[in-house]
Symmetry: C2
Subunit: 393 residues, 2 copies
């Protein structure tokens, strides 16, 4: 595992030491990326050893990529190396099943690494505003690490989000508002309470953990890029992490440069700040008013990384688009009934977006596409049951 | 992948052809096991190729063991090769996290193989009585295979069990009773309706799929047996499948014979037919009256394989025991708060049983033990939320 060389601002490229915990760029408040000396990981030989050495500790799950992750003893619950499922109706369509992660969502990857580093730095109290799933993941990894977790999330999250956070022993506050309101509360109180703010992109390691999705999807396709990647976009950090992974893999000589996938950010019509900014040709989004969608993970009125996401979508030849909730739910039923896969509402936004872009000619059926199901449909049992008209007990 | 040689009755050893779908032994109604010519899989060299060839299709998940599974094109949703997590408080205690499977439980393994074979045989309509989790798994794999699923389960199952079965498009009947009542209905109607009864042990392939848990736990411990395996026991078929795996692995020369783990069957005090029969020294259980436990997967008044389970527990030097629901829930909270792992109630019965057998001196803290979490705690979000006193929305 490589030593961290330094942290680098994604905007102004100032470098900062990783010896102590960092938040945003001290110069411009840009997002900090982890940079390593990766010379020992360069070349196809290292890449091809990954599979033969993986599977059990210390190389289980996403830690198979420990050659490109910080050399710190991990706090792990078995996250990563999730199934890549081929659609039964179109063998060029792959579903990346992130619901198989601990706590049932991709959030486990980012928080596994961020809590690993928090323990390494000796931090004692972590705080997070969440649309729901980051809350559960922080609560789990904090419990595993013996660190306090302070969680703020909307009061109308799915039952599972509230239940798991309480079960893991986190200090949970339900807020009459959205994740943006939760973030304001964390921001106001963190200094007095001694909390470290582990919000996505406001520290460098959640995005670093999520980058493993990029390595994984490429490895699972035989170290080839697909033509397009569909990513349900609330905070959009998974998409940012994957892009960083592609950049690293090219530098390492693990994939041929020059033909990265179109990156497609998918939102709900009920909360579509990034899709709107994309359409209007703007470099940044504006906060979405009265955000409302049953895809609760997409209920993020303003993502901190919006400019990075828009830039990635554009420079990759991708798009950002929004799908109405009804269409999302129809796609959820389509995939459960015809593929045997119960998507999260967010994942169903991605599958609906695929259908849309196929129908309008943006994509061909022969294009190789990876669609992210960012979480387990089971985590939304109460929400989906209600939409199916099943009587609550 | 090996050809099936024949099916063999576990009781009277009569052999039956696998050319057509089979149910129970036509001679004595015993459970049928799949037998292969495994000569091509014999030896450590084949075993050691498993890891290097595994990870992606056709060797992803439990299909890494395709050398000991029927050579039929699989219906797969990414089941198996679940995390083996070391307890943070005792490094000799391993938690086998079956919640990472499709549909969130170990039931996926058995139904992946049983539906694979059902499709191979051209069966069109499958029926199952279920305590809840087999229902969801059958519904998912049947949807993936384009086969009709007819499901009967108690009306008070967790919301997730009902929701997922409906979402996958199965024909769902909620029954005012237990799995035994559901089984009676399937039995009465199956002939007229043309349903194939895919109840556990009443056809040979669900137990065959579940045997992969035995291969996996041994491989994940470096091809060594642990000292004990704790298995939450409703129908108990996972335990039976693991025992078959151990037998095969010894015949194949993949593990040294003669020191199999103690097999420990764990039930709830609210439904403990096997634990009672074990204690009373009887070879078979009697149907449990008024079965009641929040560990809904353990609510099986009479398991079809009870004599096999009792025999395995006894001949391995293990035990069958029952834990009160309150103690189970305390162990669930203990593991979520101190390990960051949200167990299913059934899994928490196993962890509670471990604590009990450690306290009474049956086990030592230095004994290497594998505890099965048979399902994701998230699948019981409504049940656990209620026990935590969280207000329903």
């Amino acid at each position: 595992m490589p030593q961290i060389a330094h942290l680098e601002c994604s905007r102004c490229h100032q470098t900062v030491s990783a010896e102590t915990p960092q938040t945003l760029c001290p110069n411009c408040s840009g997002v900090l990326y982890v940079r390593y000396d990766l010379s020992s990981a360069r070349g196809v030989a290292v890449r091809d050893r990954i599979a033969s050495e993986a599977g059990t500790a210390p190389s289980a799950g996403m830690w198979r990529y420990r050659a490109v992750l910080p050399s710190v003893e991990p706090v792990t619950l078995g996250e990563g190396w999730t199934p890549m499922l081929q659609s039964k109706r179109n063998r060029n369509v792959y579903l990346k099943e992130e619901g198989a992660n601990p706590t049932g969502t991709f959030k486990a990857r980012g928080l596994a690494l961020a809590v690993t580093m928090a323990r390494h730095y000796g931090l004692k109290k972590l705080a997070v505003p969440s649309a729901g799933n980051a809350a559960g993941a922080l609560a789990a990894y904090a419990a595993a690490a013996g660190i306090e977790a302070h969680i703020f999330m909307p009061k109308d999250v799915p039952i599972a989000n509230h239940m798991e956070s309480v079960a893991y022993g986190a200090k949970v506050t339900l807020v009459d508002g959205l994740i943006s309101d939760c973030a304001r509360i964390v921001n106001e109180r963190k200094q007095a309470e001694g909390w470290f703010d582990i919000s996505s992109l406001k520290e460098p390691f959640r995005v670093e953990g999520k980058k493993t999705m990029g390595y994984e999807l490429v490895e699972q396709l035989g170290w080839q890029y697909p033509d397009a990647v569909f990513y349900p976009t609330g905070g959009g950090v998974g998409l940012i992490g994957m892009w960083k992974a592609f950049e690293e893999m090219e530098q390492l000589g693990w994939v041929a440069p020059g033909k990265r996938p179109k990156m497609i950010a998918v939102q709900s019509s009920g909360c579509a700040p990034i899709a709107r900014a994309f359409e209007e040709g703007k470099p940044a989004s504006e906060a979405w008013q009265n955000a409302s969608t049953f895809a609760s993970g997409l209920r993020v009125p303003k993502a901190y990384g919006d400019t990075i996401i828009l830039d990635i979508c554009r420079s990759s030849g991708g798009v950002a688009l929004a799908i109405p909730d009804d269409t999302i739910f129809q796609s959820l039923l389509d995939w459960s009934r015809n593929e045997g896969i119960l998507l999260s509402p967010e994942g169903a936004a991605a599958t609906a977006a695929y259908d849309h872009l196929l129908a309008n000619g943006y994509l061909k059926a022969t294009d190789r596409c990876v669609l992210f199901n960012t979480g387990a449909g089971l985590k939304y049992a109460d929400v989906i049951a209600e939409k199916l008209g099943l009587t609550a007990k």
